[in-house]
Subunit: 210 residues, 2 copies
DNA sequence: GTAAAAAAGGGGAAAAACACCCTTTTTACA
DNA sequence: TGTAAAAAGGGTGTTTTTCCCCTTTTTTAC
């Protein structure tokens, strides 16, 4: 069965083109297109089921992406959502991620990468683009993870699962030995000594949404 | 250095006797005695440092234990607190624990057990009395952990640390093989297959305070 | 007062995680 | 265009975790 998507964006033209693009994907279909966050809230309040992924624009009239994401976190914390925006604004990115957003895409993303992002959210639960990890690293006020690389952040998320490292390696298309390297590097940087330590760090610092 | 305690209880006589009892302990001392939660809030708002443990009565005028615990969770989530009450009320117990309270003592507890509870909160971060685990099991609306025993709950908390199982066994004064048994039993009951799964379950269900 | 359940303990083997050593390739960037 | 950092990969061994079987003792419930 196809995975469902709801697009929330006031740029109708963009939303409809995106719908067209998604129609070319075998595994995804668009359920609804809403012009602002309030319409999404109404959808949920009407008792209708959420989609597999909500694509959320940031700048919108009535109820913008940030407010909508907050509402989702409060009311439907399990709902997966991806931010999809023109704004390459660190603060937005961080706020969205902290509110449980599973990734942040720029609207000039390549269709291939866009598809990969959708699949990644379905399979791994999130999609960290370079923009996201950079923003997280730069925007970290306490410099707790300033030294973490993009791949390390990605691995850290995968470590918060019941997969073995070998399975994580498969998921990330890497050799188990490479994963070994990330683990050791993170152990040192985060001053932990076990995978449990990694998981606790990730959760404490909102790098992984429980 | 002695570990510090603040008592919050409107029963002055009880609070002062408790202070007397604590004076006989080598490792603990009472910093302050407050008559209600508001006085504790004022203490914090005055910029004064929190104690190692707050002992919190439930039924109090002005600001009761539940409200105070909520305030602590919101403003000083790291602050360790123990509920200390006459009420053997399941709903109170669960609400307090969900708000990050590290344990729930009945006021008719034996002095020895009371000291053990204090030490346990300092060393392990919490103290689950029989009352607490029973209430948690009985009061669980979703029956997610109805079958968990007291010891399993206790072990589950210890599993959320970087200790090896051998170290956990030492902490709980049990043979590593017994710990093995708890683990296997929990894997089956919680439908997880690794220690990571245990940690994630505990955190998702507020059994472990991150 | 007995029966069941929980708690405690165990043997032995396989899988996973961890540690510590290392090399090569790719990328960023000054 | 050189160099540093990141990414990727490797060897070998130890420790920890996991699994599947089992027994005895203690607690709890009826």
């Amino acid at each position: 069965m196809k995975k469902t998507i709801i697009i929330v964006d006031d740029h109708i033209l963009f939303a409809k083109s995106l719908n067209g693009l998604i129609k070319t994907y075998d595994d995804f279909e668009v359920l609804e297109i809403f012009k602002n966050g309030q319409e999404l809230v109404d959808h949920f309040n009407g008792g209708k089921p959420g989609p597999d992924i909500v694509l959320l624009d940031i700048k919108m009239p009535v109820k913008d992406g940030l407010e909508t994401m907050e509402w989702l976190k409060e009311n439907y914390p399990e709902q997966k959502a991806l931010a999809l925006s023109m704004e390459h604004d660190e603060n937005y990115i961080i706020k969205m991620i902290k509110n449980g957003c599973r990734g942040y895409l720029l609207k000039d993303i390549e269709p291939d990468e866009f598809l990969y992002a959708l699949q990644s959210v379905i399979n791994s639960g999130y999609y960290y683009s370079d923009e996201v990890s950079e923003a997280m690293i730069k925007g970290d006020p306490e410099k707790k993870f300033e030294n973490l690389t993009r791949r390390e952040l990605e691995f850290l998320n995968h470590a918060c699962s019941e997969m073995t490292y070998k399975e994580v390696a498969g998921e990330m298309n890497l050799s188990p030995k490479t994963i070994d390297g990330y683990r050791e590097s993170l152990f040192e940087k985060l001053e932990v000594k076990s995978r449990i330590g990694l998981v606790l760090f990730a959760i404490k610092n909102d790098l992984y949404q429980v």
